[in-house]
């Protein structure tokens, strides 16, 4: 497979070793860089997050290149606020407990070696934009910064207390994450079944659709009927709900209902309750039932008009 790739972003960063029991972070001395790439040979482009050694560290046989494939919305790039002796970020996955820590090796702002710089913030914004949407518009800041980044930060430049004695505790927050549940072996065999409704339509697409509606659109009024009673019936509130983790959990849980329908009639029951012409099993059947219901409603409207 000839895979064409486009580099979206690259910057200098080293790896940080994370020791979960002690919550200690230990910056590794090797020079490295992080590259975000997009593969263009697929209709749906994938984002690769690559860490590789650079400069003299390239010759270090103990250092290996890392590559991670990331789905839109699957991961976030966050500063580790608890680390006060260096500029440390974490790549945190929403779907698993996996996390990778890195220390920024771009030139610091002025003499302050341990403070997140303007440039770090710009990089973080750009990464998070790309993690959310791989096709996000390229902005100029990165061209600017590549010229301004100047000399590499060498290990010697680091504050001396970045060593073991000053290892910092990482955030304990939200270390509890849901485990990725592997698909059962039968479901991977022939022509992958759809795993989650969000693989077809994401909450973001729903929000974009709602956002595009005129305030007086009757479809908005209809949607308000499905909001919890306590939530104000306004477009911004509807958008907030669609973007909430609880709504996403609702979609995941509904997906699971249809996915695990084998041997139970849970999917049938839900579809029946929704008045959908559900035939077969699984999320594809559910989506096709949605499609059929639209047609039925349309035909009904036609008959009424005639």
């Amino acid at each position: 497979m000839s895979s064409d790739t486009v580099t979206l972003l690259t910057f200098k960063a080293g790896k940080v070793e994370f020791n979960p029991p002690s919550k200690h972070l230990k910056p590794l001395p090797q020079k490295g860089k992080i590259t975000l790439q997009k593969s263009t040979d697929e209709e749906s482009p994938l984002l690769s997050f690559i860490w590789e050694p650079r400069g003299s560290s390239k010759n270090d046989p103990t250092v290996e290149r890392d590559e991670l494939m990331i789905f839109p919305g699957e991961a976030e790039w966050l500063p580790v606020a608890q680390c006060t002796t260096g500029r440390v970020y974490v790549l945190k996955f929403n779907s698993s407990s996996q996390r990778s820590f890195f220390w920024m090796q771009e030139a610091p702002s002025g003499d302050i070696l341990n403070e997140i710089s303007e440039n770090d913030l710009k990089i973080a914004t750009r990464i998070n934009t790309l993690l959310e949407d791989i096709d996000a518009e390229e902005v100029d800041i990165l061209e600017e910064q590549s010229g301004a980044s100047g000399d590499d930060v060498e290990m010697e430049d680091l504050p001396t207390n970045t060593g073991d004695s000053a290892q910092q505790q990482a955030s304990l927050s939200s270390l509890i994450n849901s485990i990725v549940i592997p698909p059962s072996s039968s479901s991977t065999s022939s022509g992958a079944p759809i795993h989650d409704i969000t693989d077809a339509i994401t909450p973001k697409q729903m929000a974009q659709f709602v956002d595009s509606l005129d305030a007086s659109d009757p479809r908005l009024t209809n949607l308000y009927n499905f909001l919890p009673a306590e939530i104000p019936k306004t477009k911004p509130e509807l958008l907030r709900v669609l973007q909430s983790p609880q709504f996403l959990q609702g979609i995941n849980s509904l997906s699971q209902t249809f996915r695990s329908a084998e041997g139970t009639n849970a999917g049938q029951l839900v579809a029946h309750e929704l008045g959908l012409p559900y035939r077969g099993e699984g999320i594809e059947a559910f989506l096709r039932a949605i499609r059929a219901a639209i047609q039925e409603e349309k035909d009904r409207d036609h008959e009424m008009q005639e």
């Binding site: 939200s174 549940i181 698909p183 989650d196 693989d199 077809a200 709602v210 949607l223 709504f247």
Partner: protein, 316 residues
């Protein structure tokens, strides 16, 4: 008793705070601790106790097996304290968060429990841990309140057996650490007795607890356990109002509003909203791109699912 009556609920400061308020407790809240060090703990004074919650793997459960009759891995068993303080053996997995919460509240004399929990405390005085655990499991009030924070499943099918706990919700464990009458107690419903970690005043609690927890965390093999810490402390809003910290108070009020909103959303399964949204987005696609547009969504979804499976397998 069967475990079917207790649902899983999310372990979250906002959920637990509203839960105890619904049970009638006043002026107490939960706060998530972002790091484990004495100063973050001291910042939350008056601090009544800390709930250490973790998600464990089978190998850790095996290590933790109770009733070995010997000594706990750290600290000392205090069999006599079982009757003197509020200690409950865990009878039902899903109730264990609520049980840990009660283990903090019931053991701190200054906490205003409200009438229902005060009665419950009086009723269980003198019980052993086993019976106290049983009594919690059988309390309609506590169970109903606990369950009101869970998301309803998308379907109601009474003919079916209750959903078996999955790996995801089965493996949480909650342990309360509380300074009680000058002694640091570890109250773990899977242990036969309360465990003591020596003398400890309220002021010493942050330092001593940090030591105990570091020892505990250090015992687990790397990658086997994920954990989180929740402080049980006085309602921050009352303290901030007292000292006239307007800015801090407004921040806490915002946090409360957000908790309230999240708890409302937690009680929804959104099945209706999801179906309506899907209809509109699909109809919109068909209108713009025809039937091919819809088939495109399906093909795309299959491809993404396939990549998702592959990525999951790689990561494993």
């Amino acid at each position: 008793m069967s475990s079917s009556g207790w649902n899983t609920i999310e372990s979250d400061a906002g959920v637990f705070t509203e839960l105890i308020e619904t049970l009638g407790v006043k002026s107490v809240q939960f706060d998530e601790l972002l790091s484990l060090d004495p100063s973050s703990l001291s910042a939350l004074a008056p601090l009544y106790g800390v709930i250490f919650l973790f998600k464990w793997t089978q190998s850790v459960i095996a290590q933790q097996a109770d009733g070995n009759g010997g000594k706990p891995v750290d600290g000392e068993y205090a069999p006599d304290a079982e009757y003197e303080i509020f200690f409950a053996r865990q009878k039902i997995q899903n109730a264990c968060a609520t049980q840990a919460i009660l283990s903090v509240l019931m053991n701190r004399g200054e906490v205003k429990l409200g009438s229902a929990l005060s009665e419950f405390k009086d009723f269980t005085t003198g019980f052993d841990g086993e019976l106290r655990g049983e009594t919690i499991s059988n309390s309609d009030l506590i169970r109903t309140t606990h369950n009101s924070f869970s998301r309803p499943t998308p379907f109601v099918d009474e003919s079916q057996a209750p959903r078996a706990a999955t790996d995801d919700d089965d493996l949480y464990h909650f342990i309360a650490y509380v300074p009680i009458n000058g002694t640091l107690y570890e109250l773990d419903g899977l242990q036969p007795y309360p465990i003591t970690h020596g003398a400890c005043s309220d002021d010493e609690f942050p330092d001593k607890l940090t030591e105990v927890l570091y020892r505990r965390i250090g015992r687990y093999p790397e990658g086997e356990v994920r954990f989180n810490l929740l402080a049980v402390c006085a309602d921050r809003r009352e303290l901030l109002a007292e000292v006239g910290d307007v800015e801090g108070l407004s921040r806490e009020n915002e946090k409360r509003e957000e908790w309230k909103r999240e708890n409302i959303l937690r009680r929804e399964n959104f099945v209706g909203l999801i179906a309506e949204m899907l209809k509109y987005v699909v109809a919109d696609t068909v209108e713009k791109k025809g039937e091919e547009g819809f088939e495109g969504i399906i093909d795309e979804a299959k491809k993404k699912s396939m990549q998702r499976y592959e990525a999951m397998q790689r990561r494993r």
